[in-house]
């Protein structure tokens, strides 16, 4: 332990060390290769090869492979990681081949001299010129289940319960259901889209206008337009007007005559056999709702291939599905149709207008919950019903609602995103407030509640987070620590090694020790320690919260010890202390949030060409009090968001021929 503390203290010198080392001029000058072979490789051999040679190659890292400089320069990202892990005293794992201070600084100094991975400029996206064997991403993607429900809501102005009809979607890219490559269509989808269209249209366009709820009545009037009861003669022309108007909204672009005619064939089919006007119209509109032009966010291929700016209409859809998870409204659509949207000032104004619209709540609902990995709460991850009878679907909704509400409050008031970490308020209703020990909140409505207690406020104090990072019957500092690292700081934690026999014996003996003592035994093993040293302290900082997020001082008979000590040597106590630690790493937290939101907006995995967008966004946030509008604007205005790459491949007519 002493050794580690010493390391942590002396580690500081490593930063300034390079000066003194480079001053050693009297030593005979070694060539870079000689330097590596004579001074660096022996250290690696002694302290790293045990795990990272050709045979073992833990974490897929084989350092033995690097026997010349070309190989090293060809793997800049790998060496960057090596530097980060050694510099942070995470490697070699403590207790295993400990690296003496002088060797540590020597290797850090050498690693720092290596050429940094190249950062491309901001006005680039990956394409076949700058990336080898580049395969594009699916950008004309299917709208996901939540987007489908929102789009129906905004198309007709009525919320119809269509969501449970449709199969759930998986995630891809940076972990969101906006990734086109990971959104699949099966025959079950088509069947459900037909059923959903039936349900929607019979709801918003019922046969008779009488005895309708006001919102349905309004929707019906809006759909039918000025002539709700056309004569037989007028019927087709009127239907044509309706179908064309609804198709424009549904397809997010003006409908072509041929498309309208196609839908009208169904109108004719029904009307000619004697169906009434409204049911005949419903059949035509049903085909609009099952059409791929509605179900897919279409980005047509321009004549000119390669990297191209997006046309105004697809850009409008990208923007509205990013901020609203729904279709463009009339204003945005009209600006896209006229092309004015391509004016950066107009575009920027739209971004800000959209953020102030109530529909921007989708950012909390869709982005924040997926980013923080809270969507599984109440499904696969659920507190035990017997031990925690308080947890029901209502409480689940409120818990998630709190996260959404806080996120959306920050967006709406354009206050600092850092409040996600250390706000002195939250949103709660009576049930949730009770969990938090706040007594004067009444009723079901979530409302802003101020905290004097520094232990609350921010996501680490939220019940949904405590519940999702617990096992059904107990809390787990490991899961909580891992969550903090992965969801907030953006660090990846390796899965545990498969079998740790020595540990079991010790743990058999340690059965009655408090959880912390058991975990410390576990961490005594070097290969466990490198990760658990990072995770567990963070998780212990949250041990005062039980599975449902209630404050506690004891677990069973053991008093909760919520002190934590990080590999860096920093120590802290309890949730309030944890928040301070997170604030001291706010650059990491913000960068991770930026990456996540960028991935959400782009609908794909980020690559090195996006680094610049991310870095610039972080800078912009730092200079502008971390205001969410700055981030959203930055992403929406970024080059990759407004452009796409179209590979130059001649489309084979063969498949189309097959259709005929």
């Amino acid at each position: 332990m002493l050794n580690r503390i010493a390391n942590a203290i002396f580690g500081c010198f490593a930063v300034i060390a390079p000066l003194s080392f480079s001053a050693e001029k009297d030593k005979p000058q070694l060539s870079p290769l000689e330097e590596y072979q004579k001074e660096i490789q022996p250290i690696l051999k002694k302290h790293c090869y045990d795990c990272h040679d050709a045979d073992v190659a833990k974490a897929d890292l084989n350092l033995e492979y690097f026997d010349d400089l070309d190989k090293i320069h060809g793997a800049q990202e790998t060496w960057q990681t090596v530097l980060e892990r050694i510099y942070a005293f995470e490697m070699p794992p403590p207790g295993k081949n400990d690296l003496p201070f002088d060797k540590q600084s020597k290797i850090v100094q050498w690693l720092k001299k290596l050429p940094k991975p190249e950062k491309p400029d901001c006005d680039q996206i990956a394409n076949d010129r700058n990336a080898n064997f580049y395969r594009g991403h699916v950008m004309s993607r299917r709208i996901n289940r939540a987007e489908y429900a929102n789009t129906i809501r905004d198309l007709f102005g009525v919320r119809v319960a269509v969501e449970e009809l449709l199969p759930a979607d998986g995630g891809g890219g940076e972990g969101f259901d906006t990734a086109g490559n990971a959104l699949f269509t099966s025959s079950i989808h088509i069947e459900k889209y037909i059923a959903a269209a039936d349900l929607v249209l019979t709801t918003v366009l019922p046969d008779k206008a009488s005895k309708l709820a006001p919102e349905i009545k309004a929707a019906r009037v809006r759909i039918l337009g000025s002539n709700a009861k056309p004569s037989k003669k007028e019927a087709r022309v009127t239907a044509q007007e309706v179908v064309s108007r609804i198709s424009r909204l549904a397809f997010r672009r003006p409908a072509e005559t041929s498309e309208v005619e196609r839908a009208l064939q169904l109108f004719d089919r029904a009307f000619d056999r004697g169906d009434d006007y409204v049911p005949s119209l419903r059949l035509a509109l049903k085909s609009v709702l099952v059409s791929p032009n509605f179900l897919f966010l279409v980005e047509p291929e321009p004549d000119e291939k390669g990297v191209q700016p997006l046309a105004a209409l697809p850009l409008a859809s990208r923007l509205s599905y990013f901020i609203w998870s729904s279709m463009p409204d009339e204003e945005l659509l009209a600006l896209a149709e006229s092309g004015k949207l391509l004016d950066p000032n107009v575009y920027r104004q739209q971004v800000h207008r959209m953020l102030q619209d109530a529909k921007a709540a989708a950012l909390g609902e869709r982005f924040a919950l997926q980013w923080l990995d809270l969507e599984r709460l109440g499904g696969e991850v659920r507190p035990d019903a017997q031990k925690f009878p308080e947890f029901d679907s209502e409480l689940q909704r409120v818990m998630l609602g709190e996260v959404e509400a806080v996120f959306n409050y920050i967006v709406k008031s354009d206050s600092s995103l850092l409040e996600l970490i250390d706000a002195d308020y939250t949103f709660a209703n009576e049930r949730l407030a009770k969990i938090y020990g706040v007594s004067d909140v009444m009723g079901e409505e979530l409302r802003k509640v101020a905290f004097a207690d520094k232990n609350r406020g921010g996501v680490t104090g939220m019940a949904a987070v405590h519940a999702i990072t617990s096992y059904p019957l107990r809390t787990s500092p490991v899961l909580r620590g891992r969550w903090v690292l992965e969801a907030l700081i953006g660090e990846k934690v390796k899965p545990p090694p498969p079998d740790v026999p020595a540990l079991e014996e010790t743990q058999e003996k340690a059965k009655d020790l408090p959880l912390r003592a058991q975990l410390e035994l576990h961490r005594a093993k070097a290969e466990c320690a490198s990760c658990h040293d990072k995770m567990d302290p963070l998780g212990f900082g949250m041990e005062n919260y039980d599975v449902l997020g209630r404050w506690r001082e004891k677990e069973g008979e053991h008093a909760i010890d919520s002190t934590g000590k990080l590999p860096s040597g920093e120590t802290f106590t309890g949730p309030a202390g944890l928040k301070k630690i997170l604030m001291s790493r706010k650059d990491d937290v913000v960068k991770h949030l930026v990456r996540k939101m960028t991935g959400y907006a782009f609908g794909r995995e980020l690559n090195k060409f996006d680094d610049c967008v991310v870095d610039k966004a972080v800078e912009a946030l730092q200079q502008n009090n971390y205001r969410p509008s700055v981030l959203v604007e930055h992403i929406a205005l970024s080059f990759p968001f407004r452009h796409r790459f179209y590979p130059k491949i001649i489309v084979q007519a063969a498949t189309e021929q097959k259709e005929k």
Binding site: S186, I188, I194, S287, E299, Q370, G379, Q507
Partner: protein
């Protein structure tokens, strides 16, 4: 007819890229038709004989492996002692095979779960990706069958589950979580969505879409069905003209849409054309004594059983002959404390670290899964069919994609095959394979019994002798 034949040819070529090598010309699934015989002659020959009930196939997956010591029998052959985790199956002992030493070599690399589950029924490599370029190496065995015998039934196949697909990626291991949510793959790159709501599943089997079968009789439903048919025709036109406007990367996603629309069209057509089956199920599709279940229940066991009921009904009515079912997504942390005393999170317990306090409840969860299989086999046995019952005419694969959950081993997979495939399996034994026998060898044997023989499947090296 010509169109169909061409399609079939194209499909055969297509399958080659999917980890499957087709051997003999496709056999008609309904009878023992010799290669080369004309369909008419074959039909006559079959009709002359007593028409045999078709073979059904279901693939049931449970997550997180097993506590091996309580799952695998010690003795080989018929006289083995039923191990703890299989005890609920004791009453069916004569009707299933239990195997040991099945392996999936392509799952030895990659992460602990996703690289093992997504390819449970394909046997090939799962590509490591958070979402782009998703691939499980090949088509899954159920979908392969569905493509070949699916045309005989209203639904080519029925994919069922209990939990919704979960979003997100596992950033630690670099795989999208959806790999843990699908075992049925229509192609290496396209998973098949599944139904998790028993009521909606019921409607799918017996709802509007079947209404077309009333033939001449016009009802509200049959009108709707034929309207839907007309609608899909037009929507296909939409899709085809849209396809021409898209770039290469986007086209293949739209192709999924096109294929799916065609599948649904085919279902609609199925009912509007005269009945083609020589063999008649003992229950017809419009059986009125099958009560529709009410929504998805909160109780896990109840939910599982409703879905298995649905599968039994689908087999009984010959609505489909192929089905797959996932007890849960892989890595499922489902809380079992209500169903299994002393248990909690399934995934947590599967990492038992050889501690009795964990492996005991873990093993009991394995046993609970066997109990559900026993329940399902009861159901199938209760449905009489010809001389025997539906189970006699089925192959029910039941298993997990890893052996020991603590080590994530893809060798010695826990695998059971219940049913006799219409007398083509000698069940009631523990078959101890040579170590590292590819699981796909079993799939080759199963495909043969489905009337869709292949030379190889996935990483198969031979067939398993099922008697």
């Amino acid at each position: 007819m010509n169109v169909l034949r061409n399609n079939r040819l194209a499909r055969r070529t297509f399958l080659r890229g999917m980890g499957v090598t087709l051997g003999l010309p496709l056999l008609n699934a309904m009878g023992k038709v010799l290669p080369g015989a004309s369909p008419e002659a074959a039909a006559k020959a079959t009709a002359a004989r007593n028409v045999q009930a078709p073979v059904r196939m279901a693939c049931l997956f449970f997550p997180n492996g097993v506590w091996e010591k309580n799952w695998f029998p010690d003795q080989e052959g018929a006289d083995y002692e039923i191990p703890f985790a299989l005890e609920p199956l004791a009453r069916h002992k004569k009707d299933f095979l239990v195997f040991s030493n099945f392996d999936k070599k392509h799952s030895h690399q990659g992460d602990g779960h996703y690289a093992k589950t997504a390819n449970f029924l394909t046997g090939l490599q799962v590509r490591k990706t958070p979402g782009k370029d998703i691939s499980v190496g090949g088509i899954s065995i159920d979908q392969l069958c569905a493509q070949q015998v699916g045309r005989h039934t209203p639904l080519p196949s029925l994919e069922l589950g209990v939990d919704p697909v979960i979003s997100g990626i596992d950033s630690v291991v670099g795989y999208t979580r959806l790999y843990g949510c699908y075992i049925s793959w229509r192609s290496p790159n396209q998973p098949v969505a599944r139904e998790i709501d028993p009521r909606l599943g019921y409607e799918r089997l017996f709802g509007v879409i079947q209404a077309g079968k009333n033939g001449g009789r016009q009802t509200k439903e049959s009108k709707q069905a034929s309207d839907n048919q007309a609608l899909l025709d037009l929507v296909l036109e939409d899709a085809n003209s849209l396809r021409r406007k898209l770039g290469r990367d986007d086209q293949y996603k739209l192709d999924e849409y096109l294929d799916s629309v065609r599948d649904v069209e085919r279902r609609l057509e199925y009912f509007s054309t005269p009945e083609g089956r020589l063999w008649k199920p003992t229950a017809s599709l419009d059986v009125e004594d099958i009560a529709a279940p009410k929504g998805a229940p909160g109780d896990h066991q109840e939910h599982v059983r409703l879905m298995l009921d649905l599968m039994a009904i689908a087999f009984w009515t010959d609505s489909t002959r192929i089905s797959s079912f996932m007890f849960a997504n892989d890595v499922s942390p489902k809380n079992f404390s209500q169903l299994v005393p002393g248990a909690s999170s399934h995934h947590e317990l599967s990492h038992h670290q050889n501690k009795a306090e964990k492996f005991e409840p873990y093993s009991k969860i394995n046993r609970w899964h066997s109990e559900q299989l026993a329940y399902f086999l009861d159901k199938l046995k209760a449905i009489k069919e010809g001389e025997g019952n539906v189970l006699d005419n089925s192959m029910i694969l039941f298993g997990s994609s890893m052996s020991d959950g603590n080590r994530h081993d893809p060798n010695n997979l826990p695998i059971i095959l219940a049913g006799k495939a219409g007398g083509k399996i000698k069940s009631g034994r523990h078959i101890k394979n040579e170590k590292r026998t590819p699981l796909c060898n079993l799939y080759v044997s199963m495909l043969e019994r489905m009337g869709t023989p292949v030379e190889s499947f996935g990483d198969s090296t031979a067939a398993i002798d099922l008697g």
